[in-house]
């Protein structure tokens, strides 16, 4: 059992150290007020399998689960209770940790379905150990229609030499949901880590992905698709800490804001060990309709002149008129042009998954999107 402490109230939501005019972007207070004993099970929106043939694991709001993973007493290596209050409360509410171990040379595919509570919070922690020369594909699917609950997960993964790990996180919530998910991956020599996200809606959904590369010739790739409708907020963090010589780190985020709030913070940290590495972060946010708020904070920290390249770029704009006209000149109307752009972006993230059900959900939501594209 994780040791409790009376001083959790002293832990701030987040240590803010950026500048005098900046406060944090995350809705910590909302999460805190929604936390408590979990009640009921919210109806999921995605009801079909997304990784056919994979092992199936089901996480339930009361902290129990069904499936082929080992359960052990709760412990977290890459997370600490001193980081922030919500994380601390979560770690201390864990009843168990789930362990997925992929032995050397093995390949495993696991689909994890996380059922959200209707109210209150639920807590799960998963630890993934990928041995040497092995591979793992994991999909974490969480969705709910009308849930005011706060489903929280922490996942930590250790990827051995020469191994591959691909994680999909699909989080589709309607207006009220408050899902929180932290992922940290540590990749060793010649490993390949890929994290893909489909983050849609929620009153305030938070998804944080951090990859640390060590050893040589590793690769870390992040690709996220974000969408927020009116009244919804998606809060996404993507960090890569690159200490791996000859490595490649890339982060790509594409967001479509239909009158909600989109937040993206992404940091590429390139240390002195990342000799001859290539590092790139690119985020494109489109605003459609009116009332959107978009916050884009790409950061770059480079130590020494060892990397071949380290760059980032971001843009926040309405759908470019010339791009719209180009597609219209091929016969597509405004809504169809938007559909082409949204689904093209989504399909890149869903590659390798049986993503039809997810595509369908997004198409339906697009139909309900505001009709005027140009405000």
């Amino acid at each position: 059992m994780l040791e409790g402490s009376a001083d959790i109230k002293d832990v701030p939501y987040q240590r803010v150290r950026d500048s005098p005019t900046l406060k944090f972007y995350s809705s910590w207070e909302k999460y805190e007020s929604g936390m408590g004993e979990p009640v009921g099970i919210a109806n999921p929106i995605i009801n079909e399998r997304t990784l056919r043939g994979a092992e199936l694991v089901e996480l339930r709001p009361d902290g129990s689960y069904r499936g082929s993973l080992e359960e052990e007493s709760p412990s977290a290596d890459l997370f600490s209770v001193t980081e922030g209050r919500i994380l601390a409360k979560h770690l201390m509410s864990l009843k168990s940790s789930l362990k997925l171990k992929v032995n050397d040379g093995e390949n495993r595919r696991v689909e994890i379905i996380y059922l959200a509570p209707e109210a209150g919070s639920s807590h799960h922690h998963i630890r993934i150990d990928v041995g040497r020369g092995s591979s793992a594909e994991i999909a974490l699917i969480s969705s709910a229609r009308s849930s005011a609950g706060v489903p929280i997960t922490t996942m930590e993964a250790f990827v051995g030499e020469g191994s591959k790990l691909r994680i999909w996180r699909v989080s589709v919530f309607e207006r009220e949901g408050l899902p929180i998910s932290w992922l940290r991956v540590s990749g060793r020599g010649a490993s390949e880590v890929e994290v893909r996200n489909v983050l849609l809606g929620g009153g305030a959904s938070f998804a944080s992905d951090e990859i640390s590369l060590i050893g040589s010739k590793s690769a870390a790739k992040m690709n996220s698709f974000l969408m927020a409708m009116e009244g919804e907020k998606v809060d996404h963090l993507t960090n890569i800490s690159n200490n791996s010589p000859g490595s490649n780190a890339s982060i790509f985020v594409n967001g479509f804001n239909f009158g909600g709030v989109l937040v993206h913070r992404g940091k590429l940290k390139v240390t002195r060990e990342a000799l001859e590495s290539e590092n790139k972060l690119s985020s494109i946010f489109y605003r459609i309709g009116s009332g959107s708020k978009t916050y884009s904070v790409p950061s770059l920290e480079v130590e020494g002149d060892f990397a071949v390249s380290a760059s980032h770029e971001t843009s926040v704009s309405p759908l470019p008129e010339i791009v719209l006209f180009y597609m219209k000149s091929r016969g597509l109307n405004e809504r169809e042009s938007l559909e082409v752009m949204v689904r093209s972006s989504l399909s890149k993230v869903l590659e390798g998954m049986d993503g039809d059900a997810i595509e369908k959900v997004i198409s339906e939501i697009l139909l309900r999107a505001p009709s005027g594209i140009s405000p």
Binding site: Y326, R330, G331, S344
Partner: protein, 260 residues
């Protein structure tokens, strides 16, 4: 006026960014005809093509555009496209995230009329058609799956426009400087495409700044846009004069109506 298969531009006045560019353009383009439109830089050739295609940045102040008897002047660009007017851009934009195949499938489905999913190809022959069009335009079939125009050279973008014209088949083509950025091989590909288009009975408005394209395909007529109006119309002798003297001899010419 009885109904003929033509693209009529009648007395068109148009502005860009508040500036008047087209001052009464009259052009009639027949099906199966190649009409070359020349003119100095800034004469409004691209503005004209964009006006016909319905670009939001061109404001039509007066005049009409009629396609096969139907007035399309007030229609949005996508409907003009579905009415059979296809614009090949002078500077095709980059569309990160969208593959050529995706856009072509969607456009193709639109033309078919009935489809369950805009983005899913139901016609198996479409992919082979896309591949052969890319090949004919001088591009590797990899271009099908690359993000549209992202990182493509000027010449590659032009070839991609050409491939799209082959895939989508339209009644009228507005080709805006299809030869710029292309080498001798590319020029030949453009030339033979236009020949085929003519044989298929498509009407081609060929906008070009240089006369070299005419060595690869002979236009039926050549017109010159000058000062926002069409001022000269004729055969190859027009092109020869431009090549020898440039455009200075056009000062003070009256507006002409170009018809077949």
């Amino acid at each position: 006026m009885f109904y003929t298969l033509t693209l009529q531009i009648e007395d068109l006045y148009a502005e860009i960014g508040g500036k008047a560019v087209l001052r009464g353009v009259n052009i009639e383009l027949k099906r199966g005809e190649v009409l070359a439109l020349m003119g100095p830089n800034g004469s409004g050739k691209t503005t004209l093509a964009n006006a016909v295609a319905g670009s939001p940045s061109v404001i039509v102040k007066r005049g009409k555009i009629v396609v096969d008897g139907e007035d399309i002047t007030g229609l949005p660009p996508e409907e003009r496209s579905l009415h059979g007017v296809l614009l090949l851009f002078q500077q095709p934009p980059e569309i990160p995230g969208v593959k050529l195949s995706t856009l072509m499938i969607a456009a193709y489905n639109k033309r078919r009329g009935s489809y369950a999913d805009l983005l899913k190809a139901t016609d198996p022959s479409l992919f082979s058609k896309m591949r052969s069009s890319l090949y004919a335009a001088g591009l590797n079939e990899d271009f099908l799956f690359r993000d549209l125009n992202v990182g493509f050279s000027g010449g590659e973008r032009k070839r991609l426009e050409l491939a799209q014209a082959m895939i989508l088949g339209s009644k009228y083509l507005l080709m805006d400087e299809p030869d710029s950025g292309l080498d001798v091989e590319g020029l030949k590909a453009v030339g033979s495409f236009i020949e085929d288009a003519r044989k298929e009975g498509r009407g081609v408005l060929l906008i070009t700044h240089y006369t070299r394209l005419f060595s690869a395909v002979r236009p039926d007529r050549i017109a010159i846009l000058f000062g926002g109006k069409v001022v000269v119309e004729g055969g190859l002798e027009v092109a020869e004069r431009v090549e020898k003297e440039g455009y200075s001899w056009l000062e003070g010419q009256e507006a002409k109506r170009v018809e077949g």
